[in-house]
Amino acid sequence: MDYNKYLNQSVQSISPSGIRKFFDIANEMDNVISLSIGEPDFQTPWHIRDEGIRSLEKGKTFYSPNRGFSDLLKEITNYYERRFSLTYSPADQTLVTVGGSEAIDLVFRTLVEEGDEVIIPQPSFVCYTPLATMAGGTPVVINTKNEDNFRLKASDLEAAITPKSKLLVLPFPNNPTGAILEKRDLFEIAEVIKKHDLIVLSDEIYCGLTYGGRNHVSIASIDGMYERTVVVNGFSKSYAMTGWRLGYALGPAPIIAQMTKLHQYGIMSAPTTAQYAAIEALRHGDHDVSRMRDEYDMRRRLVVDTFNDMGLSCFEPLGAFYVFPCIKSTGLSSEEFCTRLIKEKHVAVVPGSAFGDCGEGFVRVSYSYSLRHLKVAMERIREFVGELKDGSKD
C-alpha cells in the first residue's frame, strides 16, 4: 500500500528532531555516560508526589474543567503576581495545558495564518519551527551569537521584520544555550515589537532556574507588552515534574478564549492527578525550587570552569541547566565532535546544530546530573580534547 498518497505532505516534510537522530548512535553503544538529557535529575519533591497520590486515594479520577481546576488557575496567577508582579485573571486569562509544549502549539494555531511570518531566535528548542510550520506560518530564523552571549539583539530583530511578520517567539531562559534576557535587553526588544505591532510568545519554562543573582524578567512586565504577550510556562523544569505533563498559558482574554476552544476539542483537559500535585507545588514548593537551583548552580560553575580550563571557550550561561561550549578550536564540526566523543570516550552530548544552523560549532551539555557523574564525564571530555590537540600537532 502506498501510504504517501494518504500522508499529509506538510507533516512528511518536517524533519525529525536532531536530538533524536543523534541518539540512535548512542543507543548502540554500551557504557555510555550521558550529558545529553534535557530534564531535571531530581525526582518530584515528595510532598508534591504525595498530593497526587492522595488525590487518587480520594478517587479524584475524573476530567477537570477544560481550562483546569479553579484552585490551580488561582495558584498560577498568584505565582505570576508574586514572582513577576504580573496580574492575570484566573477566570479568563489562564489555561492549563498538557505541558508547555501543548501551550506553544495552541499559541501558533490560534495566532498564525497561512503566510504569516513567525520569528524564531535560534539556537532554541526544536519544537518551534515545525509547530509554526504546521500552523501555516513561515518560520523566520534569527541567529543569536556567542559574542552577544546568545541574547536576542533588538537590531537583529529589526532586521528580520517584514510586512508579513506577526509573531515573535521569545525562548528565554534558553535551551540549549542557557542564555537569559535582562530588563535592558527586553526594553530594547519591546520597542521594536511595539513599533511593528508584533505579538509575542514568551516561553518561560526555565524561569525558576536563573543564576548569578539574576531573576527572570517576563517581557509581559515591560510597559505596553502585557497586551501583546502570551506567556507559556509549566511545572516540568522548575519543580522537576516532567513526567506529569503539565503546563499553562497566560495572556489576553481574547487569545486565551480561542486557545481554550482548541484545547477543549483536542485535549479535553490536562491530567487531573497532575493538577492536584501542581497546586501543592505552587503553594508549598518555593523552597524546593531554590534548593534545586542552588545545586544546579554549583554544577554550572564547575562545568563552565572545566570547559574553559580545557580550552573550549564557554560563555557563562545564566539560566536553564545547559552549557554551550564552543568547539571550533578542535577543527571538528558539532556532529563530528559528538560522534567521535561518543565513540572514543563514550560520552554523549548533543550537537549544537540540532538547535538551528547557528548552533554549528557548539555542543549542548546538560548539567542535570550528580556532581559525581559530571566529574567522571568532564574528565573524559578533557582527555578527548587533549588527544585531539596532540593529534593535530603530528
Binding site: S17, I19, S34, S36, E39, D41, M298, D305, T306
Partner: protein
Amino acid sequence: MDKLLKLISSNAHFSSAELASMLGEPEAAVKAQIKNYEDKGIIKGYQAIINTDFLEDSFIEALIELKVTPKAETGFDEIAERCMAFEEVESVYLMAGVYDLALIVRGQTMQDIAMFVAKKLSTIEGVLSTGTHFIMRRYKERGMNLTDFDTVTDERSQFL
C-alpha cells in the same frame, strides 16, 4: 553546615580548584578555609568509604549496647574514654534511650568480637550489661548506597 563543608562531606575528593569553581570563590580562599577548619578540628580527617563486600580479607563489625552506671564526677565520659582506648572499637556514641553507650566494634571473626565483649568490655567498672548485634550487611553508609553502586539506572529519556 556551610556549602564548603557540605560539599567535602559528600565527596572529599574534589580538588580545591573544583571547590572554588562550584562555590564561586577564589581557590586561595577555599584553601585557607579548609586549613582553618582543619586547624580548628572541625575537619578531623578524610577517609574513603569502602564496600568490604568486595574484599577477600574482610572483617566483621558489631554494634554493642552498653548499660552503665555513670560516675559521680565524670558521668559517662570516663567509661566512654576507656572504651575508646581499644583499637577494636571504631566508634563510641552516648545514646538517649534504653541503653547508654553504643559502640561499633571490629574483628576478624564473630568469635573475636564475642571474646572482646566478654573479656574487655563487660569487665570495665561501671558496665552493668552488654548487648551484641552483628552487622550482617551494609546497604547504605554515610549517604552512599553500597548495594548497586554502579548499576543505578537513569530512566530519563535521551530524546527530549
